[in-house]
Each structure stands twice: as structure tokens, then as C-alpha cells.
Amino acid sequence: MQKSNEASPAGSRGIFDCRVLSITHFSNQIYSLRLSCPDIAQKAEPGQFVNLKVNQDLFPILRRPFSISQVNQSDGWIEVVWKIVGVGTELMSRLRTGQVVSVLGPLGNGFTIDPDAENAVLVAGGLGVAPFPYLFERLVAMHRRVRVFLGARTGSELVLTQGFSRGNADVELATEDGSVGFRGLVTGPLVTFLDKTEHLDSVQLFACGPTPFLNAMCEIAKKYQVKCQISLETTMACGFGICVGCPVRTADNGKRFMLTCVDGPVFEAGKVALHG
């Protein structure tokens, strides 16, 4: 790994030319990449993201944002996990060990772990699981009790499930087609859990996934009066506040905007108005 811009102060976020240490193919369209990047590994917080330039060409031209999925400070690497949805993610899937990727990061505000929340509940829809392995590790290190609810459309899209078996964690799986775990949306088992939980003020939810899922999570958080942090995705050009292209409406009157990249991507549920 080499910091491509030598003028930038050490230890801060930066733009790095990072070598691919390995690339893993989970299922049809889902991959993970391990990048050598000691500076980012050193600094990154769970829930932060990196903005990757996956080619050296003008097409696609913009970087692509990905949650930092896992970090190893001593070995100096970070991991990202993605699904092929278009040209950029397709190009990424063709990366090979030893190739170099330009990485801008770490970016955004990660998850804020509430000091009073004994029980952390991680809820992911689909690839929303991406930031959770690193968050999980942090929570375990903080001796929190962690429950993980992972949902997907079908079993082959349930990835990273192995990563949550340390500590005293419970993992529940749900698939819409019932191929693995509970048949239905992941919010089903979550609600069942919340219904039978007594001290809801000791619970903090962490949610990541598609917008309809996040909307459901905000509803649930409101209904059960439970703390909840959600991680958003919007289209991004820069990832650090200079393009002003990633607005999300504030919940107050819906007429103001925050920027997903610098004010988020993690927001307190109820602070932002998703979709409209």
C-alpha cells in the first residue's frame, strides 16, 4: 500500500493505492475483497465507508462507495463486500490478487454505540450485512450482548453469516422464499424478539439494508420506543462533502437536507425522512 498523495498528513483519511490481497466469490453475484491499507485499517470506525476507483479509465468515471466490512489493524487490511448491480461492481468482480485499487477513506460517520445499551441488535436486509462484521467485533470487544438478524430474498444471498459466531451472540436468519431460516421478512423474527424482551431501554438497534427495510425499521423503533441507528445508501459522487449530491431529507419538516456522506451514512432513526 502506498499513499498516492504524499502531501496529505499522516494518520488522517486519504487517497491510497491499495493492493488486492484476495478476492472471494460467495455466491452468484456476491464478492468480497481484502485490500492492503494500513492507514485506513488504523483509523476506520464501524459503519464508515470507502470510495473506490475500480478502474483507471474514464468509464465508469466516478468512484463507488462501499461499507468497510472488516478491518485488521495488525495486518493492515480492510475488507469490502458487494453485489454486482452494474458496471462498477462488475468490474470489481474481475479484480485479481496483486492489482491496485485507489481507495479514498475512511469516510462518513460510523455507528455510535450507546453507552447504556447492553443489548445490541444488528438487523440486515440483503447486503446490508456488509458493515456488520466490523461492528460486531467492536461490540463483542465492548462486552455487549449481541443479537444478529439477517434477512435476504433467498439462501444464496445470505452471506457473512459465519462471522457472528464469536462471543455470546445469537444469529437468526430469514429468507423471503424460506430456503434458509424463517420464511418471510427479517423484521418478523425481530418483532417476535422485541415482543418478548423486557428491558427495551437496554436495547439498541443497528439497521442496514434497502430503503423499504429501513423504513420498516424506523417504524418498529418508533413503535417499541427503542434506540435505532440506520445506515443509508444514496448515489454519491465524491463521498466527502464537495459535490453535494447525496442529500437526505431531515425528518423535522422535510424541507432541509443533510448529506449522506458527511452527516451519515449512519443516522439516528427518526432524524431523517426516507423516500419523500
Binding site: I15, K53, F59, I61, I242, V244, P247, F257
Partner: protein, 311 residues
């Protein structure tokens, strides 16, 4: 040693490379990524009289070799700009150009009046791609007489250099550049974004909330170069060249076409240090080609033929 300095009227820059309005925020966002003082100049986001929340999403969309945007001129407004953003900018050792947006001539003038007492501002750049509320949304610099009038009104209230940033969405941009000069502009910036549209065929909605949007990036470079060359041939006014500059070779094309200074826009999103790479590349080119000063490149295009051969 190559002399990289550049001039826009009385304004002297240490090198001809600026970052473009709306593509570098208020500069502080990139301060930890590189030494901002290496830049020739920094142009701020467009500042309007009142704060503007901007447009609902989607605001940006990537297209082949470029992007569409309609941010809706989101900015903190001139008062908060002076209070919150200018102090940092003023602390830098590079030229600060404040870009101004307005819906009327009066708004341009009032923003300038607010800024006149503030130190640390090297010049004003007037964003004439703003829709003119009195002319049914026509961009200011789509009309030469409007361009001249607004420029003259701003000229009256400031002694600082005034740069008219022109829209490319016109029949003959040299007519507009001449009007800006006649109104008292010290220079023109070319080009602001082209008008573009993209459509999601599944939803049949525009890819950008506002519908039509501003098109930027490498895809607009040939258009920008043609506009810069046209003005350089027709009007005697310094030109700031903008449009799709991603490399020093791109920047050199603009200098050769007739721009005295260039600005980096969209490239900052991919790599905010592009300006530094471009400065170094221009220096290297000059050294290799034994040019003592990069200003010698300006307008040095050697056409194959005199006349416009028909296309």
C-alpha cells in the same frame, strides 16, 4: 525552472490551475487530503443572497464519460458564508475567488455588496448559468444584453476583478463574451455545464429530480475547447477554460486553445488532488518542450487551414 504564473487582468496567480465552483465545496472539506496552497486558486461554491436548501434527490447521475447534476445551488447564503466559511479560505495562501449566484441582477449586486468589506477575496466569478427569474428561466448569459447589464451593475459596486462565467448553451458564445467584456468583466470563464437529460426507462422518470440537468466531465471537453477557441479568436479578453479536465494533457489543450487559466471540476470528485497532478504535468511538459513560461502556450494552436472547412 519553468515560470508557471498566470494573469487574469491585474490578478496574478502562482500557476494557472484553479478548482471550479461547486466541485470543491468551501475547500475545507479537502484540507486534510493535500496542501491547498499549491493550487493557483480556489473558486467557492456559488453563494446566493439567502441560504438555499437545494433540490430533492436524485441530484446526480453518472453517464458515459461524465455526470449530470442538478444540486439546485444549495449553499449557506452570503452571511453564513462570511461568518463560517470565509475565515478558513482567507487563511490560505492561494487566491480565493467567490462565485456568486443570483436570480436577478440585484441579487448579484447585493451579494457582492455583502462581500466588499471582507478581506481575502481575490475576485468574483458570476455564475451566469443561473436561471434569470425575469426571463422565464433563460440562463443569464443566454442573452447578451442581460449579460452586459448585469456585469455593468456589478462592475459599479466593486473594484475587484469580475469574472463572468458563461453558459455554453448558446448559439455563439463569443457574442456573450463580448457583451461581458463590454459590461466591464475582466475575464470570462468557459464553460459551465451543458444542459443534459437522462431517463430511467423502467420508471420513465428523469434520472435527476429537476429533469434537465448540468452535464460535466470528459464528455464535454471537446465542446468546451471549441468554445474557448471561438472566444479566443473573436474577443480580446482573458479566458478561464473549464470542462472535463482530468489530466495535465487536457489542461494543456485548453491553454493551447486560448485559455490563460484553467479550472478542474468533476475530476475533483474522483481525485481532489487532480489540480496538483495537473500543475506538475504542465511544468513537466514545459520543461520537456523547453518553454521558459507556460504562458507562452496560451493561444498557440496551429490550425491546419485558415478557413472553416464545412463539416
Amino acid at each position: 525552472m519553468v515560470d508557471l504564473s498566470a494573469k487574469i487582468g491585474d490578478l496574478v496567480l502562482q500557476n494557472p490551475v484553479m478548482v471550479a465552483s461547486g466541485t470543491f465545496g468551501y475547500a475545507s472539506e479537502s484540507a486534510d487530503l493535500f496542501d491547498l496552497n499549491q493550487l493557483g486558486g480556489i473558486v467557492t461554491k456559488s453563494i446566493s443572497l439567502n441560504p438555499r436548501a437545494g433540490n430533492p434527490p436524485p441530484r446526480i447521475f453518472e453517464v458515459a464519460a461524465g455526470m449530470l447534476n442538478s444540486i439546485g445551488l444549495a449553499n449557506v447564503g452570503v452571511e453564513a458564508f462570511i461568518a463560517e466559511k470565509l475565515p478558513f479560505l482567507r487563511s490560505l495562501q492561494t487566491r480565493i475567488i467567490v462565485n456568486i449566484a443570483g436570480g436577478t441582477a440585484e441579487e448579484f449586486v447585493r451579494v457582492v455588496e455583502h462581500l466588499e468589506d471582507e478581506s481575502g477575496i481575490a475576485a468574483y466569478e458570476l455564475n451566469y448559468s443561473c436561471p434569470n427569474v425575469r426571463e422565464g428561466g433563460l440562463e443569464f448569459s443566454q442573452d447578451p444584453s442581460v449579460t452586459q447589464k448585469v456585469t455593468a451593475q456589478v462592475r459599479r459596486v466593486t473594484g475587484r476583478p469580475v469574472i463572468a462565467k458563461l453558459t455554453p448553451n448558446v448559439t455563439r458564445v463569443s457574442t456573450i463574451a463580448r457583451a461581458a467584456r463590454d459590461g466591464g468583466a475582466d475575464a470570462v470563464s468557459l464553460i459551465n455545464t451543458l444542459v443534459g437529460l437522462a431517463i430511467d426507462t423502467e420508471t420513465r422518470r428523469p434520472r435527476i429530480y429537476a429533469g434537465k440537468a448540468g452535464y460535466s466531465g470528459p464528455a464535454i471537453k471537446p465542446v468546451a475547447l471549441a468554445k474557448v477557441f471561438e472566444v479566443a479568436q473573436e474577443v480580446d479578453i482573458p479566458i478561464i477554460g473549464i470542462g472535463g479536465i482530468f489530466s495535465s494533457n487536457d489542461a494543456l489543450e485548453f491553454l493551447i486553445a486560448g485559455a490563460s487559466v484553467i479550472q478542474i471540476g468533476t475530476a475533483n470528485f474522483v481525485d481532489p488532488t487532480t489540480g496538483i497532478r495537473v500543475i506538475k504535468g504542465i511544468e513537466r511538459y514545459c520543461a520537456e518542450h523547453e518553454l521558459p513560461a507556460c504562458a507562452e502556450l496560451v493561444g498557440s494552436l496551429r490550425p491546419w487551414c485558415d478557413n472553416d472547412t464545412s463539416s
